[in-house]
């Protein structure tokens, strides 16, 4: 197609027809500030921060939503544009609480950054409060900390539409919506007064996209500090597969930097008694879940079998497709399996009372905070896991103590629950659970070892991927899906009998755990892909890449469990589900 010629800031450039002014400008290195715009969710044009002057037009145009046209002459940084942007910021700030130093998004807030970029402090003069200039009524809405995962503070909301869009389009949950109009406009739960009244599955994608502190992770680090300071408590930490490839971002490292060793030494410096690896739990999950799949295939039980690692997905099934609960693997998630083994086998081995163990997990996930409170996930009344923090919270904890992950020496995980394989590592990316299970299942069935351990067909970032393998002469059809809106489409197909898979891996967040709601913000698909690539690099660098070769896993089976799906396994590592009343 013929390209369009236009002029931006005196520079003649060419752009594809249909692109917006913003896209064309960014392509040519001309930066236009934005606030509500997020590439993956499409343009809204609500905040008016990206306005530019188009010659011949009476009004300023929003660069994010105005397509380029032949012969356009555009000024992105003229006085009238700068004044307009500053007034926009001035108005937003006049209806925004001044609590930056105590806000969880201090230093990562996009509004704060924008105020800095537009030099608002110079504009107002030092020591003057922008709210003074345009003083007036501020919108008042109550804080909603009803859930264990997400805290909503509508007073800090800038009405950018991102959370509503991500909940509607990407996750298909529709838990939050706009209410009222004009100055009273607010984002609120679609039913009831608080998020807990809605279908919210605590995936945290709204937290990920929120430019300010209006949506934040439920933070109770004081409880963790108290446990760490208590000499009576034996505080054990486990780190999810995707933390090691994203934590560095919070310390200025390039996305995709692998900081496994630094993360371990940082956790030791905080004062954890033992630093273990959720990857061990993941390896254990592969053993149980792989065996469960083979048993279901062999006995002709309910198929397809769905993975059950993702707590947001589990809640999703329970509330939308309860008739498919029997299809969920009965395996606990790696986080919970790890906790159960820590408080039984490890406690006995190390001579520690299980009750004195405080099991902490570092997760990329907001839903894990809710998962660990579920009654089904305890053995003899003792919760498997006591506390979960997100990657963002860990970064904050470290920054508060001036521990810089980027410069720390590398250290190894503690023995024995720090042992893991590459199969456990890839749980952090969509398709990883599937691939890890296939590696082990192929060998458990006595199939000749596959020539390559890399099942490329299940990797990638497309919403739904399917593949077929032959196992014992039979065809095994599998699917991998991430992002709950994609999940819904797949479930509808399965329910309508249009898809006949035997095994389906589901992750609620697009891209899997590397794209989790608790990961360092802001991030987009590009960064997510870099994190996933780093995860596969971790896998490749491991000497052991199949879960059943994990020496710690072998030890646990030899000393405690016997074999996968044994009675003891069922007691410790398997679970039940609850149908959610709607």
């Amino acid at each position: 197609m013929k390209k369009i010629t236009l002029t931006i800031n005196g520079k003649i450039i060419q752009a594809q027809p249909g692109t917006t002014i913003l896209e064309a400008a960014r392509e040519h290195g001309i930066q236009i500030p934005t606030l509500c715009f997020l590439k993956e969710l499409g343009a809204v044009g609500a905040c008016r921060v990206c306005v530019v002057e188009v010659e011949g037009e009476e009004t300023l145009q929003a660069a994010c939503s105005t397509p380029v046209a032949e012969g356009m002459v555009i000024h992105t940084d003229s006085k009238v544009v700068r004044d307009s942007r500053r007034m926009t910021l001035e108005l937003i700030l006049s209806d925004h609480p001044y609590v930056c130093p105590t806000c969880g998004r201090n230093n990562t807030c996009e509004l704060q950054r924008l105020a800095d970029d537009l030099d608002i402090s110079m504009y107002f003069g030092f020591y003057s409060n922008p709210a003074e200039k345009l003083k007036g009524e501020q919108s008042k809405h109550p804080l909603d900390d009803s859930g264990f995962s997400v805290v909503r503070d509508p007073a800090k909301c800038v009405k950018c539409y991102r959370c509503v869009s991500v909940c509607d389009q990407v996750q298909g949950i529709h838990a939050i919506t706009f209410d009222e109009k004009g100055f009273q406009t607010t984002v609120k739960p679609v039913v009831g007064a608080v998020l807990a009244d809605t279908d919210c599955v605590s995936c945290g994608q709204c937290v990920r996209v929120c430019p300010t502190g209006a949506l934040q992770v439920h933070d109770n680090l004081d409880e963790l500090r108290a446990a760490l300071a208590d000499p009576q408590r034996y505080v054990v930490v486990q780190t999810a597969p995707s933390i090691r490839v994203s934590l560095g971002e919070a310390f200025g490292l390039e996305p995709g930097s692998i900081t496994t060793g630094q993360m371990v030494s940082a956790l030791r410096r905080i004062g954890f008694d033992k630093v273990f690896d959720t990857n061990f739990g993941a390896d254990l999950t592969v053993m149980e879940e792989g065996s469960e799949l083979l048993e279901r295939l062999h006995q002709g039980d309910t198929l397809p079998m769905f993975t059950s690692c993702c707590p947001a997905w589990v809640k999703w099934v329970e509330q939308y497709y309860p008739q498919y609960i029997p299809n969920l693997s009965t395996c606990k998630s790696p986080q919970q399996m790890f906790g159960a083994i820590t408080k039984s086998w490890y406690a006995k081995k190390a001579g520690i009372r299980p009750e004195s163990i405080f099991c902490v997990s570092v997760m990329p996930c907001t839903a894990k905070k809710a998962e660990l409170r579920r009654n089904e996930l305890a053995v003899n009344g003792l919760a498997d896991v006591d506390f979960s923090i997100t990657t963002v919270e860990l970064a904050r904890l470290l920054q508060q103590q001036r521990i810089d992950v980027a410069t720390l020496p590398e250290e190894d995980f503690d023995s024995v629950l720090g042992e893991s394989t590459g199969a456990g590592a890839i749980f952090g990316a969509t398709g990883g659970v599937m691939e890890a299970a296939l590696r082990t299942a192929c060998e458990l069935t006595g199939e000749t070892a596959p020539a390559s351990l890399d099942f490329h067909a299940v990797r990638g970032s497309v919403g739904v991927r399917e593949a077929a393998f032959t196992m014992k002469g039979k065809e095994l059809k599998v699917a991998v899906v991430s992002g709950l809106a994609e999940v819904r489409k797949l479930m509808e197909a399965i329910d309508a009998g249009k898809a006949d898979y035997q095994f389906v891996e589901v992750m609620a967040c697009p891209g899997g755990c590397v794209g989790g709601g608790g990961q360092p913000v802001p991030f987009d698909e590009e960064i997510r892909k870099k994190r996933a690539a780093a995860i596969y690099k971790v896998d490749e660098s491991m000497s052991l890449r199949k879960s059943h070769e994990n020496p710690a896993v072998k030890e646990v089976y030899a000393e405690l469990l016997g074999s996968p799906l044994s009675e003891k396994s069922h007691e410790l590592l398997h679970r039940t589900y609850a149908e959610v009343e709607k």
Partner: protein, 117 residues
């Protein structure tokens, strides 16, 4: 360039007027009524999507109310002018743009009346 001829002289008029002290009160009823009515309409009808209309109209109405109650300060008129120009140029649709224009075209009348006394 985006300019409004009617209001070009407003800033000058304010600066030249030495009687502008604190607690200035402007009582040109018809002009203030038109400005107030258009702002009230905007407050009621704004969909709340874009910042100029959602917060801009609210702040403009608050300034108007201050002026009317005799609590206005000279800089209030300047702010109001700046705000309305901004609403006119930056609002996403005709709602905020027209409201900005309406109030903007009333400003010289408020001012003229005041200086003529």
């Amino acid at each position: 360039m985006i300019q409004n001829e009617k209001t070009a002289s407003l800033t000058l008029c304010l600066k030249d007027d030495e009687r502008h002290g604190k607690n200035m009160k402007i009582t040109n009823d018809w002009a203030i009524n038109i400005a107030k009515q258009s702002l009230d309409y905007c407050l009621k009808e704004s969909c709340g999507k874009c910042v100029p209309c959602r917060i801009g109209s609210k702040r403009a109405a608050e300034i108007m109310a201050r002026i009317e109650n005799g609590e206005g300060e000279p800089q209030d008129l300047e702010t109001l002018e700046r705000l309305c120009k901004y609403m006119t140029t930056t609002s996403a649709c005709g709602m905020g743009q027209a409201t900005g224009n309406m109030v903007l075209s009333m400003l010289p009348h408020l001012c003229q009346n005041d200086t003529a006394e």
